[in-house]
Symmetry: C2
Subunit: 320 residues, 2 copies
C-alpha cells in the first residue's frame, strides 16, 4: 500500500526514575535491574495520558492542518468511556474529527498503522494521526520486580498519508498472529468486567501488571521467526536488505534477541535502556526517536516487529 | 467498497430483568420507566463477556471455516490486558488468528465495519469476524434511574467478506464525526488511569455509568442530520430509497426520533424495548435481530446510524 509516515512526534514526561531510585523499592541491586532488564531509566507521568498524547501529536502535526482521522493506539485508557481518542482530540482543541481507539496491547501501533494504510488506500481519509500514549507505571507490582522495573511512561505520534506520486514510500508487507494459549503470560486481570473495580472480590494485585518474560520468550521465539520470514518474503527482502529494525522495546533482553533473527545490532533501534517498556507506545516511541536522530531516510527499508500480550506477534515492512 | 455482511449472530444471556423488577430498585413506577426509556425488559449477563461474544460468533460462523481476522468492537473489556479479542478467540478454541479491539463506545461496530471493509478491499483479509459483546449492567448507577433502567447486556457478531463477483452488496457511504465538547454527556469516569481502581481517591460512582439523555439529544440532533445528509448524498439515496434503518438502540425516545429525519417508523428497526441499550452491541444486535427475522434481502438498501459517547455520530449506507 502506497502510504508514508510523513512525520513523527515523541513526548517524554519530565520525571525520571533511575535504576538507583527503584533498587530499594524492589529489594534488588542496581546491577540486578540492569542485567535483567537493561533499563537504566524510565519516565513516569505526572500528567493525564491524553495530555502526553496531545504533546506528541502536536510535534507530528507541526504547522500542518488537523488530521481527518485520529486513531488512539494504546492500552491504558484515561477512563472506561468515552474512549481516549476523544480526550486526545479535546486536548488538541479540535472538534468534529472522527476518532477511535485500537487496542492490541504492545502491538496497538502496528495494527493501527496497517488499518490506516488500508483506509488511506481506499481513499476514506487523506491525513491520519496515530497516537500512542501510555501510563503503565500505575500498574507496577513492586512484588514482581522483573516487570515492575521494566515499565515506563511516554507517548509518540505519527502522521500517515498517501504517498505522493513522485515518491516511493509504502507499506510493503504486514503480518499478525495471536495465540490465546499464551494469554496468561502478560496480564492485568482487573480493569474490566471480570474483576470490576466495584466488585468487593477485586484485589489490588488484579490491577497490577504481571509478565512472565522467560515464558513469553519461549513461546514467542519460533512464532516471531515465522512471522518475520513471511513478511520478509512478501517484501522480497532478505535480512541484509533491511536498513533499520524498529522492534517493540519489551526489555533489553528482548531487543537484543532481535539480532538472532539475522540483523546486525547496529541496525536495531534500542531505546529500552532510556524509556523502559512503555507498552503500546514503545514501538512508535522507538520509531520517533530514530526518526528524530535522522536514522531513516526516504527509500530506506524499515522493519517493524514486536510481541504483545495475547500472545501476539506482528511485523511490517516499510519503504520509508 | 464491495463487501457484504455474509451472516450475523445474536446472543441473549438468559436472565431477564423487567421494568417491574427494576421499578423498586430505582424508586420509580413501571409507567415512569416505560415512558422515559421504552425498555420493558433487558438481559443481564451471568457469564463472561467473551463467552457471550463467542456464542454470537459461533452463530455467525456456522459450519464455515474460522475467520482470518477477529475484531472485537466493544466498550466493556474482560480485563485491562490482553485485549478482549484474545479471550474471544480462546473461547472459540482457535489459535494463531490475528485479533484486536476497536473501541468507539456505542459506535464501535460501525467504525469496525468501515475499517474491515477497507482491509477486505485492499485484500489484506478475506473473511473477517466482528463481535460486539457488552456487560453494561455492571455499571448501572441506581441513583441515576434515567440511565440505570436503560442498560442491558448481550452480544452480536457479523461475518464480513468481499462481495462475490455476481452479487451487488457494498458499503456505499460512511461518515463519522466526534465533538469532544460533549465528552461529559456520557461517561464512565473510572476504569482507566484517571481514577485507577487502586487509587484511594477513586469512588464507587466513578465506575458507574452517567448519561445526560436530553443533553445528548440537544447536541446530537443537528449533527445527526448533517451526517445523514452526507451519507445519503454520497450513496445517491433519498430517505425513500432506504428499505431499512438500523439505528443504535440508545433509548426508546432516541430510536423514535430517527423518524424525524424522514424515515417511516415501520422501516426503523426497534428492539430497545426488549434489549435495552447494550452500548456497542446495540447496533449489531438490532442488525442481527432484523436479519434473523428476514427483514433484509440481498439488494436492500440498509442505513446504519448512531450516536455515541464523545459526542460521536456515525452512519453507513449498505447495499445488503
Amino acid at each position: 500500500m502506497r502510504v508514508r509516515v510523513t512525520s513523527t512526534g515523541l513526548y517524554l514526561p519530565p520525571k525520571v526514575e533511575t535504576a538507583e531510585d527503584l533498587a530499594p523499592r524492589v529489594g534488588r541491586s542496581v546491577e540486578w535491574i540492569l542485567e535483567r532488564t537493561g533499563v537504566f531509566e524510565r519516565r513516569v507521568a505526572e500528567e493525564p495520558v491524553e495530555s502526553m498524547a496531545a504533546k506528541a501529536a502536536a510535534l507530528a502535526i507541526g504547522d500542518g492542518p488537523p488530521p481527518d482521522l485520529i486513531v488512539n493506539a494504546s492500552t491504558t485508557p484515561r477512563q472506561a468511556l468515552p474512549d481516549t481518542s476523544v480526550f486526545v482530540q479535546r486536548e488538541l482543541g479540535w472538534e468534529g474529527i472522527p476518532c477511535h481507539t485500537v487496542h492490541a496491547t504492545c502491538l496497538s501501533f502496528l495494527i493501527a498503522l496497517h488499518q490506516v494504510a488500508a483506509l488511506l488506500t481506499v481513499g476514506a481519509y487523506q491525513r491520519v494521526l496515530i497516537v500512542s500514549s501510555e501510563i503503565g507505571s500505575i500498574g507496577r507490582n513492586w512484588d514482581e520486580p522483573e516487570s515492575a522495573v521494566l515499565l515506563g511512561d511516554g507517548a509518540a505520534a505519527a502522521l500517515v498519508e498517501r504517498t505522493p506520486d513522485d515518491e516511493g514510500s509504502a507499506l510493503l508487507a504486514y503480518k499478525m498472529g495471536c495465540w490465546p494459549s499464551g494469554a496468561g503470560l502478560t496480564e492485568v486481570a482487573g480493569g474490566g468486567v471480570l474483576h470490576h473495580p466495584n466488585d468487593p472480590g477485586t484485589r489490588r494485585e488484579h490491577n497490577l501488571f504481571h509478565m512472565d518474560g522467560p515464558g513469553i520468550y519461549r513461546m514467542a521465539r519460533r512464532r516471531v521467526a515465522i512471522v518475520l520470514r513471511d513478511v520478509l518474503t512478501r517484501a522480497s527482502w532478505t535480512q541484509s536488505d533491511v536498513d533499520l529494525v524498529v522492534p517493540h522495546q519489551a526489555s533489553g533482553t528482548a531487543v537484543a534477541a532481535v539480532a538472532r533473527y539475522g540483523f546486525p545490532p547496529e541496525r536495531i533501534v534500542n531505546v529500552v535502556g532510556r524509556f523502559g517498556n512503555t507498552i503500546g507506545a514503545s514501538l512508535p516511541m522507538a520509531l520517533a526517536a530514530a526518526n528524530a536522530e535522522g536514522r531513516m531516510r526516504r527509500g530506506d527499508q524499515v522493519l517493524l516487529v514486536g510481541t504483545g500480550a495475547g500472545l501476539s506477534v506482528a511485523a511490517a515492512a516499510l519503504r520509508w
